[in-house]
Symmetry: C2
Subunit: 240 residues, 2 copies
Amino acid sequence: TLIEQSIERPATATSRLTGLRFTITAGPTREALDPVRYLSNHSSGKMGFALAAAAAAMGADVTLISGPVQLATPAGVKRTDVISAQQMHEAALKAAVNSDIFIGCAAVADYRAAEVATSKLKKGSSEQLQLNLIKNPDIIAAVAGLTKQRPFTVGFAAETNDVLSYARKKLTSKKLDMICANDVSQPDAGFNSDQNAVTLLWQGGEQTLALQSKAALAESLITLISKQFSNKSTTSEANK
Amino acid sequence: TLIEQSIERPATATSRLTGLRFTITAGPTREALDPVRYLSNHSSGKMGFALAAAAAAMGADVTLISGPVQLATPAGVKRTDVISAQQMHEAALKAAVNSDIFIGCAAVADYRAAEVATSKLKKGSSEQLQLNLIKNPDIIAAVAGLTKQRPFTVGFAAETNDVLSYARKKLTSKKLDMICANDVSQPDAGFNSDQNAVTLLWQGGEQTLALQSKAALAESLITLISKQFSNKSTTSEANK
């Protein structure tokens, strides 16, 4: 098939994505409880940075929106740093409307503190504490739900159980074009590892990519995503 | 005074702390909520690692107990990595009883989740979430409260307001020998910065160390702490 050919073909054509505009989110977000404490998610940012590097190496115009990580900006990538989910939401929507393809790879915190203390909370003598949290904006659903200037939208589902089932539910409920299912219960994949294995799902198809370096995986994912985007654009044009 | 002389003297005598055993904690702790989410504190670990490096460079035998940080182990330092406050508590007490001086520089999370989910919590439709937390062990108070093999115990107080007042209260309430007060509301000091300014307090004295590199500050702190330890040991001997 065309897809398999494009995966197997080495990335010699560095300009094959020229003109294509990607926005990619990466890393965790941090939700402050007070000036010293925060709530966060495990995420090294490596997968999102690898995707940005791969797309840029293929000639795409890449905006990378990153939470707090310890990684260098890939060559040719325009980077915006954020801390919280609200900041990432704002930056992502601003960039998304000027993008062809949006990939939400960040591990965004679902909840933030209902109230953020401006000075350090004192521990007190209580053995227990109740923290009141409120839901953060759902960035990927917001992008996929855009009615104007909506980019082709790809999400990530980091799950520990029933991975494919949860991922396919998210694909539909969030109206995504594709979703990348990542089983983060595997010790040699996901999070801080330099390797990962994922299954990319879309309406009517899926493709499993075996354990490999995040750099190699990113190249395959960018190729598959671009191909699917291109198919969808062609179909849309044909239906006009 | 003797103290000022020892600070001003360059650290040419690399063996002046030979035979002295330090245990130093550094970095944040992470308290898992589920396999992907956690609660943590801001801390790069730089101050604790600088203290370990300075003590080792002066010839001391140094055990460094570190939370999750992105830092290389200083030369000559024995390092133990931990994640949670409970793990740090266990490692710290084990090392403390074989130490002359214990410095608690880690930003330990005061609370952890009352229950840790073994699979990823699903967000659900609720706009609000209550997180039930329980208090973590107070590591520095546990070390200072040892009745046998108690090391000379030095704490850190990272505060955003009434810094010296809170630090002096902690010095007394936790029965510490010294405490290092750190105003983390200053943007050019503390946390992720390579510089810091602190005030070291003890019963009957204090010394402020102006903004400088964490490496230079660490050398002054190790010198002041060792001097105070030596004074106390001499007094104890004299009183026997």
